[in-house]
């Protein structure tokens, strides 16, 4: 195949681009070049059979240039011939010359100590469709005859980044994901009857999902069995439920969504700069049991050890014992925060830049919500007198930014709990809830185990992130409706 994908080829591409920048634009031009070789392979299954199977292999070259201290432009291409790269540079320079000056241009990263990440897993990098099919088969079989759907994915990302200030870094990462549901269809019959709500279209779904740096670490059979267990648990008669506030236990898949929501708004540097974030740095805003970090250098990480601007990754405490300590930044928000927080302690720089940072703001690359002392999910449920067990959240959307109010739905299993026991399913429920208030001091118990789950946090080549979260028990969760109400 023609696209450059080896380490040395990627290094050569970015250096060739920077040489071309100097040749066409002169030495005063600031430029960052990045070459990503991304191999994404994904097998989807539905109705317990494989129905889509894809492999995409591409090298994308990104270039950002700035003239006169801030006339900037970004270009990218999947074309990598010498001629195409020269065209890329001329396009970028021409665009930058026509741009108004950006007074907030943050400059380049420049040279610095290189961060070392987990690196790729060779077997995962080399995996083909047969390995993915084996994962799917294991998930399907473990579901014990229930209908299943989902996907198995492997990715290899190698990225080289360099700038005209002297930065040059290269790294690779791998990721493997299994994510699926098992479905107890009324027609296929747990007992041959309609769904527990009496709704003929009722689906009793359970979910099993996991992400790992190494494909070999994924236990697809365990995930399929888990999904089936939750699906079968919904065979009992539906429990009536009124709208209103209830205590809840959120399984890790549901906590994942809460954490992702907070990271995209409250703990984004852009939100803090622009005044839309409700974070109160240095205050006991959240329950002391909560500690949230970004840890892209962890040995199990699927992230690269630097972001798309070349900023090295580091372990960053976003929340320590319930006290917000930092937000995720890219170079622009670092500069803006430094300018607006004069007299206040400087915030740590994080590696949060991605391909859509200019419009979406930076995001954490490898979030971890630390486990606590609350025990297993069953232990957390045992502490509920009257409440809900929520297995998954879906289609959550920000309704009010400052209070971090989100609305969304439960999915893949929601159960009524009385006197510490699960008494039956309640179907799909809508919630409208301030995440910050749900996690307020005194409102939270944190489960003892944590799971690594897949989530697309960024829009760049890094793709699916590994987010590690435990289960949570929350004192209040505002149920505002249901799918059949």
């Amino acid at each position: 195949m023609s696209a450059p994908g080896t380490d040395e080829q990627l290094d050569a591409v970015v250096e060739r681009v920077l040489d071309e920048v100097r040749r066409q634009g002169g030495g005063a031009v600031e430029a960052t070049a990045r070459a990503d070789h991304h191999r994404l392979a994904l097998t989807r299954f539905a109705g317990s059979g494989i129905h889509q199977n894809t492999e995409d292999d591409r090298t994308t070259v990104h270039l950002r240039v700035a003239l006169d201290g801030g006339r900037s432009a970004s270009v990218s291409t999947t074309r990598t011939t010498t001629t195409a790269l020269a065209d890329l540079v001329s396009t970028a320079l021409a665009a930058a010359r026509l741009s108004p000056r950006d007074a907030a241009w943050p400059g380049l990263t420049g040279p610095g100590p290189a961060a070392s990440g987990a690196g790729p897993d060779d077997a995962t990098a080399a995996a083909g469709p047969a390995e993915r099919a084996a994962l799917v088969a294991a998930f399907v079989e473990a579901a014990g005859g229930l209908e299943t759907a989902g996907y198995a994915q492997t990715t290899l990302l190698t990225s080289a980044v360099a700038d005209t200030a002297g930065l040059h870094a290269r790294a690779a990462s791998t990721g493997a994901v299994v994510d699926g549901i098992a479905r107890a269809l009324p027609a296929s019959g747990l007992d041959g009857s309609p769904g527990p709500s009496g709704d003929a279209s009722f689906r009793a779904d359970g979910v099993g999902r996991a992400v790992s740096r190494s494909l070999a670490d994924l236990d697809a059979a365990a995930l399929g069995a888990r999904a089936a267990r939750r699906a079968r648990a919904q065979a009992a008669p539906a429990q009536p439920l009124r709208r209103g506030e209830l205590p809840v236990v959120l399984e890790p898949s549901a906590v994942l969504d809460v954490v992702a929501g907070l990271l995209s708004s409250t703990f984004s540097g852009r939100g803090l700069v622009e005044g839309t974030s409700g974070v109160r740095l240095g205050e006991q805003q959240l329950d002391p049991a909560l500690t949230l970090v970004d840890d892209p250098l962890h040995p199990s990480s699927t992230a690269l050890p630097f972001d798309t601007e070349g900023t090295p990754g580091r372990l960053t405490e976003l929340v320590r014992d319930g006290v917000p300590r930092a937000v995720t930044t890219d170079r622009r928000t670092v500069a803006a925060l430094a300018a607006t927080r004069s007299g206040l302690p400087a915030l740590p720089t994080t590696a949060g830049a991605h391909d859509a940072s200019d419009t979406w703001g930076p995001v954490a690359q490898a979030p971890v919500l630390s486990p606590g002392g609350g025990g297993s999910v069953d232990d957390l449920v045992a502490g509920l007198e009257h409440g809900l067990l929520v297995c998954d959240l879906w289609y959550t959307r920000l309704a009010e930014a400052r209070r971090s109010v989100w609305t969304g739905l439960t999915r893949n299993g929601t159960f009524l709990v009385r006197d510490g026991e699960v008494v039956g399913p309640v179907g799909v429920l809508r919630f409208t809830q301030s995440y910050l208030e749900a996690l307020a001091p005194g409102a939270v118990a944190v489960g003892s185990g944590a799971e690594a789950l897949p989530r697309a946090l960024t829009f760049g080549a890094a793709g699916t992130a590994r987010v590690v979260v435990p289960a949570l028990r929350l004192a209040r969760w505002n149920i505002t409706g249901g799918a059949a109400t």
Partner: protein
């Protein structure tokens, strides 16, 4: 009966967009070498054992500009070029893609790789009712020809300085008009130029050249406890298969002061009441209502369960196609990729099926779905033509084209005048709907009381919630009679599929009235 409605122009100086052109040969913008690559890939896939194969060679340019608070914050230009090959081996599909193939050898290797992937698909065969059936494709006569969207002013020929000046200028204007409470003022434009050469093993050979353009702006007013947003002309802009003339027509500068002042005013406006009442929706919010609760619900792959684990399924049961009551008699929804200038328009979908209009809901009865050749054949449906992919590297899948609500006999003014007690809401702020596309909750940017037939106080944080068919059955008045009330709104960021794909869709909509709707949901 199908709508004859077409996108209405807004005020302002404009250059009329010429109509799309269909030709017996591919447009000149699609080089013959691209067809050679596609043909080589298909030939190689057949030689490797495929019983069907098709290939798309796609060359796409994208440009995005974002201005914020008086600075140009993003100017990006992207070129994405490559080949994507689909192969059907036995009853297993495989897809392989390669960026920037340099010759037929690359194309052939990609075709062979698609076959290898397809063979692995057979390793896990569905035991379900559908899975026992052989994968077939709905017969479509192989097409040979071309299509180009209309474009009066090529967006890539418009000087960058002109674009930047426009966007930077309106952000400055919004900040000035809204005062110190305006925390963020942002404007954006985007353009795509996509050239596709499609070849299939059945003999299809189709070329398309599609140019898409859009722009919009918004501002945020920051209060002590909350943030208020206003946007124009839609919360993420307006887009179409048109040239820069679309942006000229939008006339962003003429609306900058108003939306900034409204954002500031919202900070002190009373809350939308929490009650059940008559709801009037503006056309832009209607377009999203249609997108989420009708467009996605009628996607055949969802109905068949192919998206069950991710995007979700549908509450619609195929056995009820043709007799299910979806909404009131006023509800007439069409699937129409032939609307000139709408964002979901094309000449051929990404399986080479020619564009054709079709009813989805007629007089409130569900009559049609969005389908591809394999899903249609599996379901026994007689129409495909709604399969598209996000670039060369993604598998074509069922996507909305233009799914729109035909205009009604009234005007917005008449809707207001006929309402004793209600709330008018405009411009989306937040959207969420369950995985069967039944239970939804939308937040809007701005609302107004409607009392005794008149528009009253501005309301902040308006929201409403409901269940698809119940809501659509409560549709009792529909506007669109007056010029500009019905418009094909463009949605440039419809997400679906794994790996994730972004789709461009269009939605004709006009203001509408619904009775007995729960509004003012609190969190």
């Amino acid at each position: 009966m199908l709508s004859t409605a077409s996108p209405a122009s807004t005020a302002g100086a404009s250059t009329a967009t010429p109509p799309p052109t269909a030709t017996p040969d591919p447009p000149a913008a699609v080089p013959s070498a691209a067809f050679d690559l596609a043909a080589a890939a298909v030939e190689a896939a057949l030689a490797a054992g495929a019983r069907f194969a098709d290939a798309r060679v796609v060359d796409r340019r994208h440009e995005a500009l974002t201005a914020r608070d008086g600075d140009l914050r993003q100017l990006s230009q992207t070129t994405e070029a490559g080949i994507g090959v689909r192969a059907l081996v036995g009853d297993g599909w495989g897809f392989a893609a390669l960026a920037d193939p340099t010759g037929e050898r690359d194309a052939r290797a990609t075709g062979e790789r698609a076959v290898a992937v397809a063979r692995a698909s057979a390793a896990v065969r569905s035991p379900g009712a559908h899975g026992q059936r052989r994968v077939e494709l709905l017969p479509v006569p192989p097409q040979r020809g071309g299509w180009a969207s209309g474009c009066a002013r090529d967006p890539f020929d418009v000087p960058l300085a002109e674009k930047a000046d426009l966007l930077v200028g309106v952000t400055q204007a919004m900040r000035a008009a809204g005062g110190s409470v305006i925390g963020v003022a942002e404007a954006l434009s985007a353009a795509w130029d996509t050239r596709t050469a499609y070849v299939s093993s059945e003999g299809a050979r189709v070329g398309q050249h599609v140019r898409e353009t859009g722009a919009g702006m918004h501002c945020l007013a920051l209060g002590e406890h909350e943030v208020q947003r206003r946007s124009y002309p839609a919360f993420r802009g307006q887009y179409g298969t048109r040239g820069w003339e679309l942006v000229d027509e939008l006339d962003l500068p003429a609306h900058a002061d108003r939306i900034a002042e409204e954002a500031a005013a919202l900070l002190s406006a009373p809350l939308c009441p929490s009650t059940e009442t008559t709801l009037l929706l503006g056309g832009e919010q209607m377009s999203l209502q249609i997108h989420e609760s009708v467009g996605h619900a009628i996607e055949l792959d969802r109905i068949l369960g192919w998206e069950a684990a991710y995007a979700g399924t549908s509450w619609l049961d195929l056995s009820r196609l043709g007799d299910l009551r979806f909404g009131s008699e006023l509800m007439n929804i069409t699937i129409d990729p032939t609307i000139p200038g709408a964002l979901g328009s094309f000449g051929y979908d990404d399986e080479g099926t020619p564009a054709a209009p079709r009813d989805a809901v007629r007089n409130g009865t569900w009559t049609g779905v969005l389908a591809g050749r394999d899903s249609a054949a599996l379901a026994g449906y007689d129409h495909a033509g709604s399969v598209r992919a996000d670039g060369y590297g993604r598998l074509p899948m069922v996507r909305m084209t233009n799914v729109g609500l035909e205009p009604g006999p009234h005007s917005l003014e008449e809707l207001v005048a006929a309402t004793d007690d209600g709330v008018l809401m405009e411009h989306n702020r937040s959207w969420s709907i369950d995985d069967k596309r039944l239970d939804f909750q939308f937040g809007c940017e701005i609302g107004w009381e409607v009392r005794a037939g008149k528009r009253g106080r501005m309301l902040r944080n308006p929201s409403y919630t409901g269940t698809g068919p119940v809501f659509w059955n409560s549709l009792d008045m529909l506007a669109g009679r007056e010029p500009g009330e019905w418009r094909a709104w463009g949605t440039p960021n419809c997400g679906k599929g794994q790996p994730g794909q972004v789709g461009h869709t269009g939605h004709g909509a006009a203001p509408a009235r619904f009775t007995g709707v729960r509004v003012g949901v609190r969190g």
